[in-house]
Symmetry: C2
Subunit: 239 residues, 2 copies
């Protein structure tokens, strides 16, 4: 039987407590894959919450892909799906998530004016100040990618304070990227890139252009990367 605990004194919203409680029990297998959840009205009685609140809790788990609803029939536990989707993470986070140790060789780290193209993408004047961050990214000591980030300087801490992770630096100054847009293209390595990545000329390269924004839409960063095609798979979840 399902039990749903709901602490009264807690400051976390009730619907999140209920969602967490349900998620835990599903993950523990107390509700089997394909089985129906108790009906929303039953959950109301079990938790003492109103139906709107129950629906909000269940809605959370549906967005996570853990449950799905069938009108007139019930709410059911989805079949297992491995990863929820690693949205908008940077290279360092990605590497850690894969259990690898990220490394970094700085190619450039200075302030400059944006090029015309960069200014157009960032929607700032060409006279404004941007940080130009060029890095070779390593994983387990092996070069995996070249990243060239252009960041609006006013949104970033002083560049001397920036460690290997750009996103950690943005976080520190309260400008966590919330939205983004990526273009991925297959291409061939230029001689320079081949050298930096220790691969042959004309080897396959995955080029990624990323533009990220704050929640209010302000553009923060324009990054062009070149990933080794033989080592890197770009993975996305679809809905």
């Amino acid at each position: 039987m399902i039990d749903v605990s709901a602490e009264k004194g807690s400051s976390t919203p009730l619907y999140i407590q209920i969602a967490n409680s349900l998620r835990r029990q599903i993950n523990e297998g107390r509700i089997a894959t394909g089985d129906a959840l108790p009906s929303e009205r039953d959950l109301c009685e079990l938790t003492g919450a109103s139906r709107v609140t129950i629906r909000k809790a269940v809605g959370q788990l549906i967005e996570e892909g853990l449950l799905f609803r069938k009108q007139g029939s019930g709410t059911f536990v989805s079949q297992r799906i491995e990863v929820p989707g690693t949205y908008l993470s940077g290279f360092s986070d990605d590497a850690h998530a894969r259990g690898q140790e990220p490394g970094c060789i700085w190619l450039m780290k200075n302030y400059a004016n944006p090029t015309v193209e960069e200014a157009a993408v960032l929607k700032v004047p060409t006279t404004s100040k941007v940080a130009r961050l060029g890095r070779v990214r390593l994983s387990e000591g092996e070069p995996l990618a070249i990243e060239h980030a252009i960041v609006v300087a006013s949104l970033l801490p002083p560049i001397e304070e920036i460690g290997d992770s750009l996103y950690a630096a943005l976080e520190k100054s309260g400008n966590r990227p919330a939205l983004g847009h990526q273009k991925v293209r297959a291409s061939l390595a230029t001689p320079t890139e081949a050298g930096l990545l220790s691969i042959g000329e004309n080897s396959e390269i995955l080029r990624i252009e990323r533009v990220t924004r704050l929640a209010d839409g302000t553009i923060i960063e324009f990054t062009r990367s070149a990933y080794r095609g033989d080592r890197y798979d770009f993975v996305t979840e679809l809905r």
Copy 2:
């Protein structure tokens, strides 16, 4: 001033009508970028709907990225973001969305048993029946990609009834894919691929492996594609 019409007789839910009405007015520029929406309570009065309904309508537009909320302050119009994200669309839909005419040359279209790898991905026995659909995909008459789809036969209409769009066929049998997972990799064209795509050997190729599922998690389809790297950008939105 904002006006929000809400037809009473209509069968479409109120919150969707309101969301549509707001979306239209934002797109028409009647509420400027960066401006605040009327408060939720004001929208209640303007529409005659309750606050829960207003919040559901606004929530829709926030998921679309059109609006964002600031607690204690208001709900604001995001800066323009081009495309809402072309999630889980097929080649035909994509081409139409770009305003291009898709074409298709069939390489194979038959029933068979899955290979060991395919069976593992689809989570079906190697003795089960699958449809094997091989196509060269054209856009504006030019070959753009090679697609090789393996589909669980029981979820598909008889293959004779399948037109150029696999997703349209799945839709017809009530098995619209709802979830998916993609891997994108840069690679080089094999001689066969080069021939089918009218490009040189060892040209850049974007390889995409896609696994799609029904809402309940049942795996439908495993598709391996090879896109011309010089013509195709793979675009994703990040959150």
